[in-house]
């Protein structure tokens, strides 16, 4: 358990701090994604007809808002080494609840609060099974993916509720003043700031990283692993429910199959943004850029008349590429890395230390 071993086997090692500050800040995976985003936007501005139109920003932001919202807690969940596949089903369930409760005569704010509560319950159910029972989140949330979707479709059948008051559906699409930026961006920015502060500037956030790197070690350093994981899943549930309310009002339709498959877009964006699927690494600005990158590519391709299948293929390739590039680069750098201080890095780390490395 020497410090040399520990540092050489965790993802962020001391040598990376030997670089000047500007390099550490700019030459990162996150900034690569941001640069790529800027490049794609610049390319599309010049080459894609109508991409520079005033409607593009509005529609683009409206489209990515649910993904942006859910990506925030999803980042924390994945950094902690877990995953939540049930988010899109929670979106569907909260959408259906909003519709059913509104149809039953409740006002939109009351129905929305109840839908959010349902999101808390869904998240708490996931969190309880993962954090306190100790089941793997992949298995738990695949189960609840089916469970919550089943509840949503069961509540409303194949019907749709579409008679929402214009006041609320208009609010979901309202723009800030005369600009083309939708009002809902304010909500997204507020939540993004809150999550960034939570993840990057609090002890809770450091605990999330510690759990992702080594949950046993985190436990011994005083992190309440079970409580942290439980709270992460609750956040994921409640933000997904919020996204479901927005989704319903934006499209003016509550359906059991709303947002089916959204979890893949969220996870794709999070991984593309540089979050390690193995936990312990990732920053929120990269994730936000990842979400926007996928949104911009889809928007530009639709303007080019590319069919939905091709867009899905490209999103999929981007995701696979982003995951593969990380592990390929890790392998290349490991084989090319000169051994620090002339000693070779042990190939197998002792149990409990550095097992996070791929």
């Amino acid at each position: 358990m020497t410090s040399t071993r520990t540092t050489s086997s965790t993802t962020r090692s001391y040598p990376s701090y030997s670089q000047p500050l500007w390099r550490r800040l700019l030459l990162t995976r996150e900034w690569a994604v941001i640069a790529l985003l800027a490049a794609v936007v610049a390319y599309a501005m010049v080459n894609v007809a109508n991409f520079d139109g005033p409607l593009t920003v509005t529609y683009l932001l409206l489209d990515v808002t649910p993904i942006l919202l859910i990506a925030l807690p999803m980042t924390l969940v994945i950094v902690s080494g877990e995953i939540d596949l049930s988010v899109a089903s929670v979106v569907g369930l909260s959408s259906v609840l909003l519709g059913v409760l509104h149809e039953a005569g409740l006002s939109i704010p009351v129905a929305a609060v109840l839908a959010l509560l349902a999101g808390v319950l869904c998240g708490a159910f996931n969190g309880f099974l993962v954090a306190h029972v100790g089941l793997p989140s992949l298995a738990v949330t695949i189960g609840t993916l089916a469970l919550f979707r089943g509840l949503a479709v069961g509540l409303l059948g194949t019907q749709a509720v579409t008679d929402f008051p214009d006041r609320w559906t208009d609010l979901a699409k309202a723009k800030i003043g005369e600009s083309s930026v939708p009002l809902v961006v304010v909500l997204v920015v507020a939540l993004a700031v809150a999550f960034a502060l939570l993840l990057h500037f609090t002890a809770f956030g450091r605990g999330v990283y510690d759990i992702g790197l080594n949950s046993e070690a985190a436990h011994f350093t005083g992190v309440d692993v079970a409580r942290t994981k439980f709270l992460l899943f609750v956040m994921s549930g409640v933000v997904s429910a919020l996204a479901g309310i927005y989704y319903t009002l934006r499209f003016g339709s509550a359906r059991g199959d709303n947002a089916t498959g959204l979890e893949l877009q969220v996870i794709a964006a999070v991984l593309l943004g540089g979050v390690s699927i193995f936990g312990g690494r990732g920053r929120l600005h990269g994730v936000l850029a990842g979400v926007l990158l996928i949104g911009v590519i889809a928007s530009a391709l639709r303007l080019e008349g590319v069919t939905v299948n091709v867009i899905n293929i490209i999103t999929g390739l981007l995701l696979v590429g982003s995951v593969v590039s990380t592990s390929v680069l890790a392998r290349i750098s490991r084989s090319a890395r000169p051994s620090p201080r002339g000693t070779s890095v042990p190939s197998s780390a002792p149990v409990g230390v550095g097992t996070q490395e791929r």
């Binding site: 090692s13 990376s16 030997s18 670089q19 390099r23 030459l27 990162t28 690569a32 994604v33 790529l36 490049a39 794609v40 390319y43 080459n47 894609v48 007809a49 109508n50 991409f51 409607l55 529609y59 489209d63 194949t158 019907q159 749709a160 579409t162 008679d163 559906t169 989704y247 499209f251 003016g252 339709s253 359906r255 199959d257 709303n258 947002a259 089916t260 590519i297 928007s299 530009a300 391709l301 639709r302 303007l303 080019e304 008349g305 590319v306 069919t307 939905v308 299948n309 091709v310 899905n312 490209i314 390739l317 981007l318 590429g321 590039s325 680069l329 290349i332 750098s333 090319a336 890395r337």
Partner: protein, 344 residues
């Protein structure tokens, strides 16, 4: 280590960049089409079916393309993978961004896509619905494939003829909130109640216009109603899946099947005796008429008001009816004698 970090960043950039170039390369060939969307000489018409990969819409959109080529416009077809209104909204938005002259859409929900259509119309796009309408006030014109009464009556008559005007029948529909399906089902219920007292409608199931779901629902229908005499499936996906199930089951020849189907999908089952007769309009003509209606709106020849008339190429002259709709004609009955004459 310094080298390593820089290099990984570079490689990551290069990898993503390659994918990006591939991605954009796919669309390059179509840049010319898209860039003429800003209202040049050619009328740009975008077809937005309920979903892609549906043979019915392949045919209708091919008819639309034929018409657009005839009047020298620019044709484009876009659409979502799943027949859901939220997925359709993105494509309506894209049409508004492109400022296409006309959007021809088959609505997945009568209300949910209305706001998006309103934004497209504000941007100057004429919106024609076909096959499945939206609320009357949110589009310019609706091209109706057949009057609902005509469809309901013809299908009830067909099934009555095949089961001897007595016995239990069931309906295999598409999705539960498809505008046209529900209108037809309601009228079929009325028609049965009024004119066919010995026929009992025992069940209505929904196959969501998905082949496997429709197939499974057919199996479930026969299991829960062993004395079922007939099935009406007013959707092309449903009737084909039901026919496939029936032709391999012991119910073949005992349970009559009719509905709305396309000759190419149903040929096999008409020839092997599973299906006696079924009805449909020509979806190719429907798309063709919708494209000409869009053109007439764009040119200002009509405004979508009742009494407006326009020429629709080889189909002749059409008149806009009350409620801003244009009727294609009466449904056509296909049977073993005439099915060989059709190929769509």
């Amino acid at each position: 280590m310094r080298l390593h970090t820089q290099r990984s960043t570079l490689i990551a950039l290069a990898l993503s960049g390659t994918m990006l170039l591939t991605a954009c390369g796919g669309g390059d060939s179509e840049t010319d089409t898209a860039s003429s969307g800003g209202g040049g000489d050619a009328t740009t018409v975008t077809f937005l079916p309920k979903n892609l990969g549906n043979p019915y819409f392949d045919t209708s959109d091919a008819g639309g393309e034929e018409a657009v080529e005839e009047f020298g416009g620019t044709y484009e077809e876009v659409g979502p993978q799943e027949a859901s209104p939220d997925a359709q909204v993105q494509y309506i938005n894209t049409a508004a961004q492109q400022g296409v002259n006309a959007l021809v859409v088959s609505a997945n929900d009568p209300k949910a896509i209305c706001d998006a259509i309103g934004e497209a119309r504000d941007a100057g796009t004429k919106v024609v619905t076909f096959d499945s309408d939206t609320s009357e006030d949110c589009r310019d014109l609706y091209v109706n494939q057949a009057s609902s009464e005509g469809i309901a009556t013809s299908q009830v008559d067909l099934i009555a003829e095949q089961i001897g005007d007595a016995g239990k029948v069931a309906i295999l529909s598409a999705s539960a909130n498809a505008t046209n399906q529900n209108a037809w089902i309601e009228l079929m219920e009325q028609e049965i109640a009024e004119n066919h007292p010995d026929i009992e409608l025992v069940d209505t199931v929904y196959g969501d216009d998905d082949d496997q779901t429709s197939f499974d629902k057919t199996a479930a229908l026969l299991q829960s109603h062993p004395d079922l005499k007939g099935i009406i499936s007013p959707t092309t996906v449903g009737i084909a899946a039901a026919a496939r199930y029936l032709s391999d089951s012991s119910a073949k020849g005992k349970v009559a099947l009719t509905g709305l189907g396309t000759p190419n999908q149903m040929r096999e089952y008409v020839e092997n005796g599973t299906v006696e007769a079924f009805a449909l309009w020509n979806p190719g003509d429907l798309g063709y008429l919708a494209a000409y209606a869009a053109k007439a709106l764009v040119d200002g020849d009509i405004e979508g008001a009742a009494g407006d008339t326009f020429e629709a190429g080889r189909l002749g002259e059409y008149t806009v009816e009350e409620g801003g709709s244009v009727l294609l004609g009466d449904p056509f009955v296909f049977n073993a004698e005439n099915i060989a004459d059709f190929d769509f």
